[in-house]
Amino acid sequence: MLDFRTKEKIIAYLFILPSFTVFSLFMFWPLLRTIYLSFFSWNMIKPTKTFVGFDNYAALFKDPLTYKVMGNTLAYILILLIVNCVAPYILSFILSAVIKRGKEFYKSVIFLPSVISLVVGSILYLWILNPISGPLAIIAKMLGITLPIWSKTEGLVIVVLSIITSWKIFGYNFIVILAGVSGVSSEVIEAAKLDHVPLHRIFLDIVLPMSSATGIYVFVMTIVQGLQYVFTPIKVITQGGPDNGSSNAIYNAYQEAFVLYRTGTASAFAIVTMGLFVLLLILEFKFVERGVYYEN
């Protein structure tokens, strides 16, 4: 007879096992391979791989492109965070605490774009936002405004691609956050309302911290998934251009690997990217988690 604590442990491992199995096969193993490849110069098919040690990494850190791409990545992250984390948070608060009528309508409608693929979204927006002849341009023309050619304007291109991506992410993040926000006990909000606490303070001091478990999820996912999502419009619309002005870490790794066929460099880049992200996660665990409120 096993004592019950051991039994519990076995059950725990069994519960994790299915996930762990697929992860080992399709995540950890490829990851190890990629790490291995990052030390070679190779194009994926040549019979010989040349071992180059840390050259790929060294080259990366020397290449100004790396910094440009990382800078872009940061810009994407910032915009995505504002549009897809902060904004839906505020919106869910407004819907759950401020507005009385029409909630249901907004809740269901705002989610709709989320179901659409970004390939579709990209094609659509390429048309709609065509600065010469798209619907938006037509309206602008009527108002006497000439739209900038965003797909070729550095900086602006990042903003527009982020908006296209946000169009898809926003609704989903919104309902997830809404779930978190509605999980905040109404009595607690009432207690604050009684104190005549202004809405924005209720939001910042009570709703935000109390729903922060969800908030953290959305925060992390906005960064991670946001960047992966942005990949599609980049690929469909700009291919990283103009002059790498819209490339981000994910797209750049893709470009290195599948456009330029530099497997080693691509691997090294992907590993560095991941390293940065994991660092972010560690920081998140170290600092942000402290402020997160959990019941257990």
Partner: protein, 414 residues
């Protein structure tokens, strides 16, 4: 005619046909249906071979990407459609069999098929640096100039369009002044195909003796003329390919310089008086137009498959098939006789005047330069980035090209 080997092949086929894969990037809008038809017809008439066609999205790059992955697993399709730009990379990295080798081994009756049916300059397009015939040209495209005659007329210009780049610049500027619309758009995909046409027609060369040489005075001058339209007079558009074509089709741009492969798309969508004319030349200089399109390469691994691959190719290169193919895609046929044959394209070409723009400039066709070696693709990317820099007004054409050339040569020498 059949030798003992062919016998063996046939008896084997009685029991089961040999299956081979044919990889292509032809979307439904670009010959996908024709591929399907040709493959079905072939399968119906062949007793030995069963071809399975696989569509690869994202054009030749996408195809190569998938091929890369497939080869990594140790497998390979039998016939692949390779874009000209990847000729060098393909021949350097993939295991292929020159078709003549297969013919010589198994199909003595086809011994002269290639020589007889293809012009030498066309065949040369599919030769690599080592002069090996990597595959056989399958489709050819050249850049042509699409014009919106309504706009030209509105601007008081010759509705037959410009003949030279010098005229084109003047046209574009006039259109801008007179109509407020953009005069000109030159395609901006992820390659330098059209740029090559622009520069080389002015006497520059993308490469000389294995080194980049586009930043010659001629090259710079040509590029400057183009860049000035975009940056200075703002009469030309600097925008992504899709948006640019869209803008031409919905009547916001006077002239569009892009591949003949867009013909069907332009023709279907445009609601104005649209025409396609020969690519402009530079005053007094010969045109040099890079060949677009693709060749078919045989990547079959087993002898059986190689044989089957050729059987299939032979079918695809028949006059009827090539005619079918051209109709479905808008490419220029690579094979002799097709244009004039009754069972070929005679009638089709008469009805589709826009095709003439391409078929009548085949004498100017040169191979599409791809930078050699492992760093070739990277070099290509450098030139693309330079394009954005110049057209974005960040650097002058001169500085941009010179810097790019230097950088590319450095890459190539590694």
């Amino acid at each position: 005619v059949p030798g003992s080997q062919a016998d063996g092949g046939q008896s084997a086929a009685k029991t089961e046909k040999i299956r081979i894969e044919y990889w292509h990037p032809n979307a439904e809008t670009q010959g996908g249906q024709t591929v399907e038809k040709l493959v079905n017809d072939f399968n119906a008439q062949s007793e030995t071979v069963e071809v399975v066609a696989r569509f690869n999205p994202d054009m030749y790059k996408g195809l190569l990407q998938n091929l890369q992955a497939e080869v990594a697993t140790g497998k390979s399709p039998a016939v692949v459609q390779v874009g000209w730009a990847f000729l060098d990379y393909f021949s350097n990295n993939f295991d292929y069999t020159p078709p003549q080798e297969i013919i010589d081994t198994y199909f003595p009756e086809d011994k002269n098929f290639i020589k007889d049916n293809f012009l030498p300059n066309i065949l040369d397009l599919a030769k690599n640096k080592e002069n090996i015939q990597v595959g056989i040209p399958y489709s050819l495209s050249t850049p042509v100039l699409y014009i919106n005659r309504d706009i030209l007329r509105e601007a008081g210009l010759d509705e037959n369009g410009p003949k030279t780049w010098e005229e084109l610049v003047a046209f574009a500027n006039t259109i801008k002044e007179k109509t407020g619309k953009y005069g000109f758009y030159m395609q901006e995909p992820a390659d330098n195909w059209a740029t090559q046409a622009l520069l080389e027609s002015n006497g520059a060369r993308m490469m000389t003796d294995g080194k980049a040489s586009f930043a010659s005075e001629e090259g710079i001058q040509a590029y400057e003329a183009y860049a000035d339209m975009v940056v200075k007079t703002k009469s030309a558009l600097h925008i992504s390919w899709g948006e640019g074509v869209q803008s031409f089709i919905d009547g916001n741009v006077g002239m569009l310089f892009t591949t003949i492969a867009q013909r069907a798309n332009v023709q279907k969508g445009a609601a104005f008086d649209v025409a396609a004319i020969n690519a402009p030349s530079w005053q007094g200089k010969p045109k040099r137009l890079p060949a677009g399109g693709c060749f078919l390469a045989i990547t079959a691994q087993t002898e059986e498959e190689k044989k089957a691959a050729w059987e299939f190719e032979r079918y695809l290169y028949s006059i009827e098939s090539i005619a079918e193919w051209t109709k479905g895609t808008g490419y220029v046929p690579p094979r002799k006789d097709v244009a004039t044959a009754e069972n070929g394209l005679k009638q089709f070409l008469e009805e589709n005047k826009m095709m003439a723009a391409a078929t009548t400039q085949m004498d100017g066709v040169v191979s599409w330069t791809s930078f050699p070696g492992d760093a070739g693709l990277q070099a290509e990317q450098v030139l693309l980035d330079t394009r954005d820099q110049i057209l974005g007004g960040k650097v002058s054409a001169r500085d941009g090209l010179v810097a790019a050339q230097e950088k590319i040569n450095q890459l190539l020498s590694q």
